[in-house]
Amino acid sequence: MNWGSWDNFLAMGGYAFYVWGSYLVTLGLVIAEIALLALRKRSALARLRLHGTATQGDR
């Protein structure tokens, strides 16, 4: 498939809204899932460290 130009590629034969609407939402949600997972791990570790220092202080 030779699109000829970037404009043609982005226009997707007149279906730009539908095609890019599908691909961008997919990309956005995948990035969001990975970001949320990274945040979840970070906050789990932060809570563990907080808890850890508290118990050490008790001793």
């Binding site: 095609v19 899932e33 990274a38 979840r40 791990k41 789990a44 563990l48």
Partner: protein, 244 residues
């Protein structure tokens, strides 16, 4: 090699980390290749024009939505039968990724349906049963979130997940059993695919990419769940200290 070694969270945690990284890396490469085939190798469809290029994510997302449900139900059932800790964690780890792909199948299908069918949505058997799948994933997650004790949450979720399995053949065969607006399968195990070879290759490559991505995401989430549920154990405290 003793595989049962990895049925304990403590020994599975570092392995899951390594696997998540590599599956994620492979997913990135495979999806890039799939998109290249889908956008630069596959020809324009004679009837649908360029709108058909949505299928390179729609079909793999729909496959993953059903496949992930079966894998989730498998782990849930294993946990219910053998009372193993890790099984329940794996089931919980898969659910949000399964819901993501179910939503994407519906979303991209809707964006494909508008230009080709002339409507965003119809209540035909395929679309409706796929929507029920989304609600099954949400129901599983909501039920687990509503129960404080993780082991009891796993058991309740497992029952729901196993009962919901009945929906998977309904989705898959809906286009045969009922008169649906959604077309029948273009790719099946029993007959030759009814589409151009490059289109099929693009779809298959994207399906593998989504598969690897799902494994990576589920393993990342499983690691979070292990840290949260096993927070009282020494190995988790150790890991938190070392990763500071």
């Amino acid at each position: 090699m003793n595989w049962f070694k990895y049925s304990s969270p403590q020994s599975f945690f570092p392995l899951a980390g390594k696997l998540a990284f590599w599956f994620g890396a492979v997913a990135l490469v495979v999806c890039a290749a799939g998109l290249y085939i889908g956008f630069f190798r596959a020809p324009t469809d004679a009837q649908q024009g360029e709108a058909y290029r949505i299928i390179f994510i729609h079909v793999p997302a729909a496959w993953m939505s059903m496949f992930l449900y079966l894998v989730m139900a498998f782990w849930a059932g294993l946990g219910l039968a053998f009372n193993t800790r890790l099984s329940g964690m794996m089931a919980s780890a898969i659910a949000p990724t399964g819901a993501l792909f179910t939503f994407l199948a519906l979303w991209t299908g809707s964006l494909w349906g508008k230009p080709t069918w002339g409507t965003w949505w119809v209540w035909d058997a395929r679309l409706t049963s796929e929507l029920i799948l989304l609600f099954l994933y949400f129901g599983f997650m909501a039920l687990q979130a509503a129960i404080d004790d993780p082991r009891r949450a796993d058991k309740a979720g497992a029952v729901l997940a196993l009962v919901g399995v009945v929906n998977i053949p309904i989705i898959y065969f809906s286009v045969k059993w009922w008169n649906t607006l959604h077309q029948g399968a273009s790719v099946s195990l029993t007959k030759a695919p009814t589409m151009a070879a490059t289109m099929l290759t693009g779809m298959a490559v994207m399906a593998f990419g989504f598969w690897f991505y799902s494994i990576a995401a589920a393993l990342m989430r499983a690691r979070c769940i292990m840290l949260e549920r096993e927070r009282a154990s020494e190995w988790v405290a150790d890991y938190a200290r070392r990763s500071a």
